[in-house]
């Protein structure tokens, strides 16, 4: 029974009443009836719909079909390479003539029995060599890149691209195999020129494509300390392109002058991550950390495909794990790499338009998909239907603790975001008040340093009407890091 279930054919929930079956059948039949249909294949679909209706309207046949359907789905799910646990903020929606907010938490983990191998790593390090990187910054970045290259295993591939106004492949994958050659090449790397990030990304993607590894993990690390001007759209297009190919981009911003919003967008589109380094000293540990994570990936290009109901608007998508990061709110959601011993957790905030005449709402039909590394092929996707009953009475049970605690930190993150927007619009007083409120709440959660940073930015707003470029990044990445599992479970 491949394809759609009988219920999906009629567009009704599994719990549909006889009345709902009739209505679903009428609507589907009207659209597909041979007297009126135009598209090829509609007559066949009409016959299927008829068969579906005849089966479901007969209680005995429906019961038999339900058993068969459950078995079939269990079989599909057990064959899938993924497991997914879905939590919703409420057990039921209310019959209301106004919109409602609903939260869905997806927790995706690898199925058992996947190949247990260290995947080959195909990495490109893209380095900003603009004038501002001169001196210590570039020295530290250079030695960090060299230390990664010297520790490659056979089968891995790495390259270094440097860019200013133009991009240049500084260490090719062949040169990277010989550390002494790589060292000599990197020693020629000098700072000078502007920052045109699109150039760097494009050259980096070229290297990655050239060595693209179907059963390995393909990753770009972009290091920058400056802002790009005029090529933002090119950067976004390249990020979309990378996401489609299964290349994740991690961005590392050094100092306070880099464009964090664009970096967030680039990384977010590809399922990557952004790290803020206020001093370049941690760069070596950071790169090593990213590289080690890559060797523990079991699936890459993990994504949720599918569609949501017309009554549902996705308002925001926030990845909570492995690295907290706001992602794009359009399906498919690109989630990045799935760690072997971990999970990807994703919190979706949706606005549900009034649903007064329904008993159950199918929020969306999704498939969890990705590339299983070491298997050299696309994984067997996991089909998911997320639905919720619609009732007259509110659900008295409190929302799941996992959702509440994640949202408590996201709400701090949002306050910081709002203050920044307000400061940008010139509403300095409003922004300052918001940051003071944020400071109070941070203090209450025991985050003294962040609270202090929020207060000092509030002071600054009161005096200069502007945020400091360093403070705004500290608050953004600081509040985002509150979601890290180690931090939230410590409380």
């Amino acid at each position: 029974m491949p394809g759609q279930s009988y219920y999906a054919l009629l567009g009704v929930p599994r719990s549909a009443s006889v009345e709902e079956l009739r209505r679903g059948y009428r609507e589907a039949a009207l659209e597909l009836h041979p007297d009126t249909n135009r598209r090829p294949g509609d007559t066949e679909r009409f016959l299927e719909v008829q068969q579906a209706y005849e089966t479901l309207i007969d209680p005995d046949r429906r019961a038999a079909y339900d058993v068969e359907l459950a078995e079939e789905e269990a079989r599909l799910a057990s064959r899938s390479s993924f497991r997914c646990h879905v939590l919703q903020s409420r057990k039921n929606l209310l019959q209301l003539d106004e919109p409602q907010v609903h939260y869905i938490l997806f927790e995706i983990s690898p199925a058992t029995g996947l190949p247990d191998v260290r995947p080959p790593v195909n990495l490109t390090i893209v380095i900003d060599r603009s004038t501002s990187m001169r001196g210590q910054r570039l020295d530290l970045v250079r030695s960090a890149a060299l230390s990664i290259i010297s520790n490659l295993e056979p089968g891995d591939s790495a390259s270094v691209v440097a860019f200013s106004d133009r991009a240049e492949v500084f260490v090719s994958p062949d040169q990277a195999r010989d550390p002494s050659v790589a060292r000599a090449r990197l020693s020629l790397l000098q700072a000078g020129g502007g920052t045109e990030i699109a150039q760097g990304i494009e050259a980096g993607l070229g290297e990655l494509k050239h060595n693209f590894s179907r059963d390995g993990v393909n990753q770009m690390i972009l290091l920058t300390d400056g802002r790009t001007y005029g090529d933002e759209d090119a950067c976004r297009a390249l990020a979309n392109h990378a996401a489609g190919m299964g290349i994740a981009i991690n961005c590392v911003g050094i100092g306070s002058e880099w464009g964090d919003n664009l970096m967030d967008e680039i990384a977010g589109k590809t399922g990557g991550n952004v790290v803020f380094l206020d001093s370049p000293h941690a760069i070596s540990d950071l790169l090593q950390g990213i590289f080690d994570t890559l060797t523990h990936v079991v699936a890459s290009r993990v994504r949720i495909e599918g569609s949501v109901s017309v009554a549902v608007d996705v308002r925001s998508v926030f990845r909570l794990e492995p690295e907290p990061m706001p992602l794009g709110d359009a399906l498919p959601f690109f989630l990045g790499h799935l760690p072997r011993d971990g999970a990807i957790r994703l919190l979706v905030e949706a606005v549900v338009q009034p649903v007064s005449d329904l008993k159950e709402l199918v929020l969306g039909q999704f498939t969890v998909n990705g590339d299983i590394l070491g298997q050299g092929s696309e994984a067997t996707g996991l089909p998911l239907q997320v639905s919720i009953p619609v009732t007259l009475d509110p659900d008295p049970t409190p929302p799941p603790e996992d959702i509440v605690s994640a949202l408590s930190f996201i709400s701090l993150y949002r306050m910081q975001e709002k203050a920044r927007i307000e400061a940008g619009l010139g509403e300095a007083l409003q922004a300052a008040r918001r940051l003071e409120n944020l400071a109070t709440q941070l203090l209450a959660t025991g985050e003294r340093d962040l609270a202090k940073a929020a207060l000092s930015e509030a002071d600054r707003l009161n005096h200069t009407r502007k945020l400091s470029t360093e403070g705004e990044k500290m608050l953004k990445y600081g509040t985002r890091a509150l979601l890290l599992p180690a931090k939230s479970s410590a409380r």
Partner: protein, 169 residues
């Protein structure tokens, strides 16, 4: 729509945290009249000067702190934790529950003195390194250590005494 008890911001039904001020909205209900108004919360009282014996019943407060020596009950609604302290001039961080009007300064209450934490299991109080310490039923607490408290317990900040009113068990 539901209304945030702290800032009166309107949010869609089902929202868990106020988008304006970050207050947790789990305990608010979409039914009219059940939502705590801003005035009620900022005044810290429900109703007109209730009789001491029945104050907690008349107030309709399920969880709150009674300020001993007054008839007032400060409700604990809408958040998971509350900082207790007093406000001073030019002070940016204001505690969630400001005890200034109850002679907090004279009683030796620090600006950020202690914190009440509500979890599913219990209500706890934590001393936040206050100058004069926090006592529960006359036992001094170690700073930064959460101590569970129950209905009727006396929490003492400096010399100021509060009593926990809880209808949850």
């Amino acid at each position: 729509m539901i209304e945030c008890p702290t800032c009166s911001n309107q949010e869609f039904v089902g929202t868990l945290y106020c988008g304006e001020c970050g207050t947790r909205l789990v305990h608010t209900s979409p039914l009219k009249g059940v939502v705590a108004t801003r005035e009620a919360v900022s005044q810290g009282v429900f109703g007109d000067a209730p009789h001491p014996d029945t104050a907690e019943l008349q107030s309709g407060v399920l969880l709150g702190l009674r300020v001993l020596g007054t008839d007032e009950i400060l409700p604990l609604i809408g958040r998971e934790n509350y900082t207790l302290g007093r406000s001073g001039e030019g002070q940016a961080v204001i505690p969630d529950i400001d005890l200034s009007q109850y002679s907090a300064f004279e009683s030796g209450v620090s600006r950020i003195h202690s914190e009440i934490r509500l979890t599913e299991e219990n209500v706890a109080v934590v001393d936040l390194d206050s100058a004069n310490g926090t006592l529960v039923n006359n036992a001094r607490l170690d700073p930064q250590k959460a101590t569970p408290i129950h209905h009727g317990d006396i929490i003492q900040l400096g010399q100021l005494r509060l009593q926990l009113i809880s209808r949850y068990h």
